[in-house]
C-alpha cells in the first residue's frame, strides 16, 4: 500500500537484552541481529538462555532490561503487532491431546482471527505443506513425536507469519524425522520466511543455516556465518594425518614444533591440533615432509567444529 516506507532488512534486533528470574540471570545484555530471509541458527548449551530469548521475542516473557524489535515492532510497547507477524513454537508441544488435528489448527486459526470461511482452506493448506493430510481426523495424542512436531509447525504457519521462532524443533526426533523437518524448513526459507531455530548442537545446524549465533550464560559469543565460528576462536584447527612407517619419529617431529599444540594417535591416524587459528594443514605437511616422514594423507577434521563450539562455550564458563 504505502510504497514509500522501505521494508526493514533487519528482522530481529535486540540491544542489551537481559532477563533475570529472581537471583538467576538468564540473559545478560544480549545484542543480536537477524536479517530478513535468514535461516538463523541460535546455539547454546542447556541453560544458556535460548528459550528465554525466544520467549521474549514471542512476547510471552517481558525483558528486565534492554530492547528487542521484531520486524520493526518493539516486543513490549507494540506486542500486538509482533504477535501478528511471528509464529512461535515452544520447546514442548503445548497441545491438547484429546483434540483432533483439524480442531487444533482451526482453533489457532481463530485465535489469529482468520474468518471462518477461510479457515478450512488454510488448515488444509498447512496440513498439505507439512505432509499431515492423511492424519487430519486423528487425535493429537495418537500421533508420533515427529508428527506432533510437524503439527506444531503447521500451527505456526497458519497465519502466514513472516518470522518463525522455533525452539529446539529437532530434539527428540529420529534421524529421518529430523531430515524431513529440515527439508520443510528449507522450503519455508525459499518462500521468503525468516526462521530462527535454536539447538544445543552446532553441527546439527551446520549445513542448514546460513548464519548462526552462539550464546553462553546469557551472552552472545559469536554471530555470523557458520564457517566464521572457527576463525573466531583462539583454538587452532584440528588436522588428521596418516603416515607410513615410523609413527613414533613422526610424533616426535610434530611434538617439537611450536606451531603445533597437541598430537594424539587415534584409530591409526594422528590427530593434530594447531596452536593458533591462522595456521592450517600446510604446517603439518611441511614439518613431516622436512623431517623425512612418509605422509600418506592429510585432511582437516570435520568433527572439529563441534569441538570448537565446546571450547568456545567452555571458555566462557571458566
Amino acid at each position: 500500500m504505502s510504497g514509500e516506507i522501505p521494508e526493514p532488512v533487519v528482522a530481529v534486533q535486540t540491544v542489551g537484552l537481559s532477563r533475570t528470574f529472581g537471583s538467576t540471570a538468564a540473559l545478560l545484555g544480549l545484542d543480536l541481529t537477524v536479517n530478513q530471509g535468514d535461516l538463523f541458527g541460535f546455539i547454546g548449551s542447556n541453560g544458556a538462555g535460548k528459550t528465554t530469548t525466544l520467549r521474549i521475542l514471542a512476547t510471552f516473557l517481558s525483558p528486565s532490561g534492554g530492547t528487542a524489535k521484531v520486524l520493526g515492532h518493539d516486543v513490549v510497547t507494540d506486542a500486538d503487532a509482533v504477535r501478528n507477524v511471528i509464529g512461535y513454537m515452544p520447546d514442548f508441544f503445548g497441545v491438547y491431546k484429546d483434540m483432533e488435528v483439524t480442531e487444533y489448527l482451526d482453533f489457532f486459526g481463530a485465535c489469529y482471527r482468520i474468518p471462518g470461511a477461510q479457515r478450512e482452506k488454510t488448515v488444509n493448506d498447512v496440513l498439505e505443506l507439512v505432509g499431515l493430510r492423511e492424519k487430519r481426523g486423528f487425535l493429537i495424542g495418537a500421533l508420533s513425536r515427529g508428527m506432533q512436531q510437524r503439527l506444531g509447525l503447521a500451527r505456526v504457519l497458519i497465519h502466514d507469519p513472516r518470522l518463525l521462532l522455533l525452539d529446539e524443533p529437532a530434539s527428540g526426533l529420529d534421524p529421518r524425522a529430523r531430515i524431513e523437518m529440515m527439508a520443510i524448513l528449507q522450503e519455508l526459507q525459499k518462500m521468503g520466511k525468516t526462521i530462527i531455530i535454536s539447538s544445543h548442537i552446532l553441527s546439527e545446524l551446520q549445513t542448514l543455516c546460513n548464519r548462526v549465533a552462539i550464546i553462553e550464560k546469557g551472552k552472545l559469543i559469536y554471530s555470523g556465518p557458520v564457517q566464521g565460528v572457527r576463525d573466531h576462536t583462539t583454538a587452532g584447527r584440528t588436522i588428521r594425518a596418516k603416515v607410513a612407517g615410523d609413527v613414533e619419529s613422526a610424533l616426535l617431529l610434530l611434538r617439537t614444533d611450536t606451531r603445533i599444540a597437541a598430537v594424539v594417535q587415534e584409530n591409526g591416524f594422528l590427530k593434530i591440533t594447531l596452536a593458533s587459528p591462522e595456521l592450517d594443514g600446510s604446517v603439518v605437511a611441511e614439518t613431516l615432509v622436512r623431517g623425512g616422514a612418509r605422509l600418506l594423507s592429510l585432511a582437516e577434521d570435520e568433527l572439529g567444529l563441534e569441538e570448537v563450539f565446546m571450547r568456545l562455550t567452555r571458555g566462557e564458563t571458566q
Partner: protein
Amino acid sequence: MKFLPIVIRELTVAARRKATHWTRMLSATVAVAITAWMLSVMAGSFPQETSKAIFGVMTAMMTLYCAMAGVRFTADCLSAERREGTLGLLFLTNLRGHDVVLGKLVASSLDAFYGALAIVPVLGLPLLMGGVTLGEFGRMSLVALNALFFSLACGMLVSTVARSAHVAVWGTLLVLILVAGGLPALDAYLVGKDPTSRSVFPWGYILCPGYTYALGFDALYRRSAWQFWTSLGATHALAWVLLGFASLILPRMWQDRPSSSGRGGVGHRIQLWLRGNSPSDARFRRKLLDRNAYYWLTSRRHWKPAVAWFALVVMAAIWAWGWHRFKSDWTNEGTYFMTGIILNFIIRVAFASEASRQLAEDHHNGALELLLSTPLTVSEILRGQYLSLRRIFLGPLVFILLIETVLFIATIKTQYGSDRSMWICLWLGMIVMTLIDLGALFWVSQWMGLTARQPNRASANSLALVFFPPWALLALIGMASVTSHTGGGWETFFSMWCLFGLINDFVVGAWAQMKLREEFRTAAQRRYAPQKGLLEILAGK
C-alpha cells in the same frame, strides 16, 4: 515388596516437608482451639461431661477428616501420572501393579495421616479428665484410621480408571458419599417399607464410618460389640479388595488412550460424542470459534450443560421420593429451606470447579504460552470464560431460582407474624448471597486456576476464600458471645453473616479481578515443576 524402600524414603522426606508441617500445625491448632472453647463454654458442667463432649467432637472431626481424605490425597495421584504420560514408564521397569498402587498410596497419603495424627495428643486431655475409657480411645483411633484407609483406597481405585483430575476428584467424592450416606438411606427406605426386616442386620450401614463411629462409644459398644467389629472388619476387608482390584487393573489401564484407528463400535461412538465430534459439532465449533476462540476451547465438551441438567433431574427425583415417602411431613418450611441451601451450595461448588478448570489445565500443559503469543487478548480469554460459564450455568441457575421462588412463596403462605418475617429474611438473604458469591467466584476461581500449583486444588481454594472468612469471623463472634453470655437472636447473626459475606465477596472478588486484568501474563509466565512422579522417587532424586 519393592514398594518398601519408597515408603521408608517418603516417610522421612514427608516429615521434613513444609506442607506436612503446616497440615499438622493447622489441625493441631484447630483441635486445641475447639477444646479450649468447649472448656470455657462448659465451665459449669461436670468435668466428666465436658470430657465426653470434647472427646465426641474431636473424634467426630477426626473421623470425618479421615473419611474424606481420599478426595484430597489419592483421587488424582495415578490419573495425574496418566495425564503426564509417566504412568506407562513405570511399567517398563520391573514394577508390578501392587508395587505402584501401594507405593503411591503411602507416598500420597502421608500428609493425611500426619494431619490425623496431630489431633491424637489433644485427645489425651479428655482421657486424663476421666469420663472416657481407654477402650473408647483405642476404638475411636481404629475407626478413624480405618476410615482413612478405606477412603484412600476408594480414591486410589477411582484414580486407576480416571484420566481428568475433575472426574477423579468428583468421582471419589461421589463414591464416598454414596457409601456413607446413600447405602444407609437405601437401607432405611427398605426397612421403612417392610418394618419386619428391622431384625435384619443393618447391612446398608456396615460401611458407613458414622455408624462404626457411633458403635465405638461404650454405651453402644457394650450392647453391640460384634456389630462394631463386623462393621470395622468389613470396611477394612473391602478396602483391601479395592486396592487389590486397583493393582490388578492398573497394568491394563496405563495405556494412554485407544488409538483413533479402531473406528466403529458403540464405545467408540460414545467417546466421539463425549469429545464432541459429530457433523453438528463442526458447525458448533465454527459458530463458537467465530465468536470467541477461547469460548470454544472451554465449551468444546458440549455435553457439560446436559450434565448440569441431569444433576438437577436427579435432585428433583430425590425430592419427589421424599415427598412421596413422608407425605405431609416433608412439605414444611424446614425442608424447603434445606432444599434451597443444598441447591445453592451445589451450584456454587460446580461453578467454582468449572471456572477454574481451563486456565489451570492450560497453564500446566503449556498451552497458555502458545495462546499468549497469538493476538488473543487477556480480555478475550476472560470473555470466553464468561460465555462458556453462562452457557453451562445460566439455565440451571434460572431454574433453581424459579424453584426457590416457589418454595419461598409456599413458606410464607403458611407463616405468620415474626416467623414470617424471619423466613422472608432467611430466603432473601440466602438467594442474594448466592448470586453475589457466584459473582465473586467468577473472578476468584479463574485467578486460583491460573496460579494453582496443583490444578485440582484450584476450586477448593477459591471456595475456601469465598466461604471461610465470613464463617470464621462469625464463629469467633459466636464464641465470644457465648463465653461472655451476651449475644443476640438470629437476626443479629444472620445480618452479620450477610454483611461479612458481602464485604468478603466484594474484597476478594475485586482483588482477583484486578489481578486477572493486570497480572495475567506475569502469572502465566511462572513455571511449575511437574509433580514428582513415582519414577523419580524410585530413582532416588
